[in-house]
Subunit: 591 residues, 2 copies
Amino acid sequence: MIGRTHHCGKLGESNRGEQVVLKGWVQRRRDLGGLIFIDLRDRSGIVQVVVNPEVSKEALETAEQIRNEFVVGVTGNVVKRDPATVNENIETGTIEVIAEEVTILNAAKNPPFQIEDKTDVGEDIRLKYRYLDLRRPIMQKTFKLRHQITKQIRNFLDENEFLEIETPILTKSTPEGARDYLVPSRVHHGEFYALPQSPQLFKQLLMVSGFERYYQIARCFRDEDLRADRQPEFTQVDIETSFLEKEDLLAMMEKMMVSIVKETKGIEITSPFPRLTYKDAMDRYGSDKPDTRFGMELKDVSDVVKQAGFKVFSEAVRNGGSVRAINVKGQADAYSRKDIDVLTEFVKVYGAKGLAWLKVESEGVAGPIAKFFTEEEVNGMLQQLDAGEGDLLLFVADKNKVVFDSLGALRLKLGKDLHLIDESKLHFLWVIEFPLLTYDEDEKRYVAEHHPFTSPVAEDLELLAKDPAKVRADAYDLVLNGYELGGGSQRIYKRDIQEKMFEALGFSEEEGKAQFGFLLDAFEYGTPPHGGIALGLDRLVMILAGRNNLRDTIAFPKTTSASDLMTEAPSEVSPSQLEELNLKIRYEKKM
Amino acid sequence: MIGRTHHCGKLGESNRGEQVVLKGWVQRRRDLGGLIFIDLRDRSGIVQVVVNPEVSKEALETAEQIRNEFVVGVTGNVVKRDPATVNENIETGTIEVIAEEVTILNAAKNPPFQIEDKTDVGEDIRLKYRYLDLRRPIMQKTFKLRHQITKQIRNFLDENEFLEIETPILTKSTPEGARDYLVPSRVHHGEFYALPQSPQLFKQLLMVSGFERYYQIARCFRDEDLRADRQPEFTQVDIETSFLEKEDLLAMMEKMMVSIVKETKGIEITSPFPRLTYKDAMDRYGSDKPDTRFGMELKDVSDVVKQAGFKVFSEAVRNGGSVRAINVKGQADAYSRKDIDVLTEFVKVYGAKGLAWLKVESEGVAGPIAKFFTEEEVNGMLQQLDAGEGDLLLFVADKNKVVFDSLGALRLKLGKDLHLIDESKLHFLWVIEFPLLTYDEDEKRYVAEHHPFTSPVAEDLELLAKDPAKVRADAYDLVLNGYELGGGSQRIYKRDIQEKMFEALGFSEEEGKAQFGFLLDAFEYGTPPHGGIALGLDRLVMILAGRNNLRDTIAFPKTTSASDLMTEAPSEVSPSQLEELNLKIRYEKKM
């Protein structure tokens, strides 16, 4: 048997009469009337092979040993199928290959699960046998899409004169941001590298170097407790530019997104993307990454209820918080008290002490709290919430953060539960005017909302020392369908402003110099104005592939406890390896 | 001042009369006759800006504050230069920009070295101020070339239906090969990830998954003592294919190399590339990565001198070694005894005990060892070495390894010293038929010459248990100008052969399973025949850029002690970071 001449899924009637050599996996074998039918699969698709002892007895003998997932080679002739046996479920369904020779290239045990899109096997098994999981057509399709998305990003950036430049993975540990993964140095005992949380400093230094337009599809690392949509290592499209105004960069990124969606999904989306200020996003959606594919916006009823007899409401307003609500249109009858209890438990996760509710009836409102409100207050609420008969109104009264978090999450949950979301839509939007700093109650200091290198908007610069919480960042997040795709900003590029920023973050001058001295120095040697953005590639692929699990977009992902179930990493290492690193384990593992 | 309209280096006579806005760095400022001349540089090149108080007094006042490497914006008009002032050294030398407005975007201190190609500043200073070093035009050019090479590789592989798939950086530590960088796990105390030395196992598993053609431009890590041409992290073009014969893969890689060289350097090279067996490469060049841009091949004179009165020679042969020599054509008079002493010291580094020599004169040979040989022996040597009057013959007699290492290195040194190498040439070649295993005297066992997943050539399979040293690997190294660009092989894809390989390497069955159980398992679920290659991107860029230091091809490289002089990584971390990782430093650093 010579080398492969064709791919299974690409055979068609134009190949009729040709002798072909195919190589691939046995999707299915059936024995029927003395013949053996093999569905042969390769990366391109499936074709039916017919093994007929009248054509080759040897081929039949070989085919008899074949089981699912065997790797085989087939030499045969392409013929048109009898109209009665045409299979419309596969692209090659009008033809079949009459085998002259069948060779077993490798045998296969029965796999622990079927290689099919639909599988009810647990994710742990899929991850342990990831090499089989990745054989499923839906996974093959996802990684093909990932390749195409990546390629389109590269093409776009190349056309726009960006240079791809690699930055180090063995970098310096810095205290800001998430927890670093550390790498002990064998040469410098007691010292460590850190895996980068992003190439932030390096890309800024590349701007100092005059590269003007840099990109990298960069691996980044965060040693954080993982949620379903987080991985210890993830990939970001990392971009930085010099001399570009914010508007130029946003327009360029919109063009890039339009081109990605068009080239990989054939979907036309329009730009410019809508913009929401951080304040509006929170007020209207209770989220800085709102899913705008449906309404059910939050409404502030604080003013209406600030004097109400219902103390939960009036006190929340008096204490500087707010009372906000969503109107679940026409669902008053659909939600029983029990159903609402479930929603109450749901919002408690976000810190809400309870979920107040009213049902709108033909004459006023019903519900346990209805009696606490005057008619004027009721009318005010109904008006504010644009509510009518049959509507269910859900309220949270608390500190603003709790109100936003709980109602924002509740809105998303109800949107999904009630099928209000058109899954075919792609809603891109920019969220702008983030606060530069937020006060961290645990650390008793301001921390950067994005990172310490984000520039304040020029007008707010003088507030940095006086009233840090009021300073707006010259930053922009790109949001798609309720996911934060990425964030960017104009950067600080002058030493004195960077020093003021460090001061606002509570760094001493020495700390600033010890950690970021090289950046402060660099700012003094001719640093251009610059800005950039980082986009989460894994998330972008997930959304465009229509998947809802980030792990399905990463070839070899880790579990939420950061383990690789296939290779069993992390694992113990030999005492001599530790000795070379001058390290000791503090406490032995409990057995 | 509005946004940039043009790039400095792209202005030309076609822009005459246009108003332009430029942004960039001040390469040089000169004051002449009341005018100020600024050489303004951006990524694209340099243009001359003329600041004339008669055009704008404010511009002149601003320009007076400007120093080298200031970042400035200039609005002005493009005019043709007076023929007498045309500067033929720069591409924009026939025009200049008459400034109407000059803005300082950022000031700059005097840099620690001039931003010019020619610099005699030490590499330590260049690495500490890497952001300035990278501003030098030759560095900008190198990274532009690196971008183009990478792009061409991606384009080629994409056209050939390869999918780019990312594999993990946090992987499992395996004992074979070089030393791993380890990453302690915070969640699994006492356990570690390892940074990958290559994506070898993952790419093989992707073949098990049926992706058929995979590539990745992958970061790899080795915690080894570094030489000038090694970095702790490096980048390889990682490729794996299923169902391809070796010949198909080699032809495809040749096509890729031809396309890279053509697209990025405009040079046409021919394929197929020459092939040398490992044995021939060693015999003729004393190296498995020979530089074939010049001759001066090694010749084996063992047969001629095995009975010679010169014991060093005859005993080397008797002990299983050999006597080999190179002929330094026409250089007998050029090398004094002292010069040869220097060469002798040079070969001692490679384990040679000495360097014997003869000078060919009109009547026979001269030199301290001449008297030990019969006329027949002398004639035999001269014939073997194709030697004539005026030639210098240099001999090493020892174990083969020492002979090859020392004469191979000496040949290269003399090739450089005597300018025998045409630096404009690109000599690609394949070295094939490597030994699969080599005996490691320290470990008292066989180790894999490439890695434990390389397939033996089919005919040698049965020798694996009987005579491991004789087994040839189905492997191929790609060599360019004396550098190993990369290595590839057909892989083992059956469990029993992989187990035999582990056995030959001295692994117990348990060790094999503990380290590579997932791979052995995978081989049983339908693994296709597969093979691939990995190419060193840093080296390829280095050679094509005509540089001779790998660090010049990596944006932020590390020193030979694996330090980053700019960020000062590695560095100490806080006690709480260590505590979270359940680690202790064994011995505190000596102060």
